[in-house]
Symmetry: C2
Subunit: 199 residues, 2 copies
DNA sequence: TTAGTGACTTAACCCAGGTTAAGAAAATTA
DNA sequence: TAATTTTCTTAACCTGGGTTAAGTCACTAA
């Protein structure tokens, strides 16, 4: 399934053409290694236990990345929206079973890159390999920040931070997912929202 | 201050000579770029707000890596023992103020590598650059696992997991630090330990 | 020897968030 | 449009861990 530049998001084009300054030829080559997949709402792009086949770019819509504990409760590590890279990198790079589930929250269009294609592309275009290393470094840093946040802030403070920094998320995804992101029950989130709105 | 092979830990030698199979000359070269620092117990190797000068290897003893929140409470992200690499990588690579404090819990001997030395070494020995990328990837994965753990386990379950996986830590470092690692008060840890020992 | 300091424990009381259960509102589907 | 399912809210009660405060134990210093 071939992908044409007209079919990818402006952010994707901006990343490769403006930020990374790849040539048209390089961009077309890069694009030819990707594969487009559609994942309808509620369907899984990756399930815990499977081996992650792709490094993936969200071209349209949103997904949630979560783990399931022994009690069956789901914990959302992070949301992914347009222009995000998703997947269980540990599973992808080490070809081991994933611990993370990736599920579409809206009908998703995803650009997928297989491991061998990634390696081939990396050899042909070293600048691209460097790009991925940098992206992963950023992802690394943001995970450390998340860890700090989860460890040092109460559920209420994390809620306030989320609604201040990303109010648009609340327009777009159900509150039950916000609760799973904050690691509280939907009832507790509801109670908290009422208490805060009274003030 | 020159460092001789006889002055570094067996793990350090094992890493470079056996695992990475560097030559004697390469190893001597690598070592010449490091600088040895002594950090007495309770002293700081890095303070939040400073810019991390070094990527560092703990040759002897242990440290705690923690953040301080607005209330002044300290949260230990992870402990570091012999054969660990420490520092605030985001601060080190982006030359921005650190958010993490690194404090010696015992009298530490640390092998330090400055950023420009790291880059020079990386150019001279590409295999070393690759080693650091791999080490950082592993560190990345372990942070994601930590995040999952903090999100999905109760304080009691995290305590049990820690004492099962690393009982030796309890022989070595004060319980108050364990409490900061679990993000509970020392009193609560004490109460919990009593409750668990009764069963 | 004793005073002082830091590490750990115990106990009483409090509160954020969990649990259970029921109901209201919104979105889907027939 | 009504029927059904999903999402969200409310309320009563419970519990794990926070808070405060006091006490014990071990180690150091004078």
């Amino acid at each position: 399934m071939e992908i044409y530049p007209s079919e990818v998001s402006p952010q994707f084009i901006d990343l490769f053409m403006n930020k990374m300054k790849f040539t048209e030829e390089e961009f077309t080559l890069i694009l030819s290694f990707f594969r487009r997949e559609y994942v309808p709402r509620k369907f899984f792009f990756l399930r815990a236990g499977q081996i992650a086949k792709y490094k993936a770019y969200i071209n349209k819509a949103s997904a949630r990345n979560f783990t399931t504990d022994e009690k069956g409760d789901e914990h959302i590590l992070y949301f992914s929206f347009e222009d995000w890279w998703v997947g269980d990198l540990e599973s992808f790079y080490n070809q081991q079973p994933a611990t993370i589930n990736v599920q579409a929250m809206e009908d998703c269009e995803i650009l997928c890159l297989q491991k061998d294609n990634l390696e081939r592309l990396g050899e042909q275009i070293p600048k691209l390999k460097q790009l991925f290393i940098e992206k992963e470094k950023k992802s690394f840093f943001s995970h450390i920040q998340r860890l700090q946040e989860v460890k040092s802030l109460s559920a209420e403070d994390r809620y306030k931070k989320l609604i201040n920094k990303h109010p648009e998320i609340f327009q777009r995804i159900p509150l039950q997912y916000i609760a799973m992101y904050l690691d509280i029950e939907p009832q507790s989130l509801s109670r908290m929202r009422k208490r805060l709105s009274c003030k």
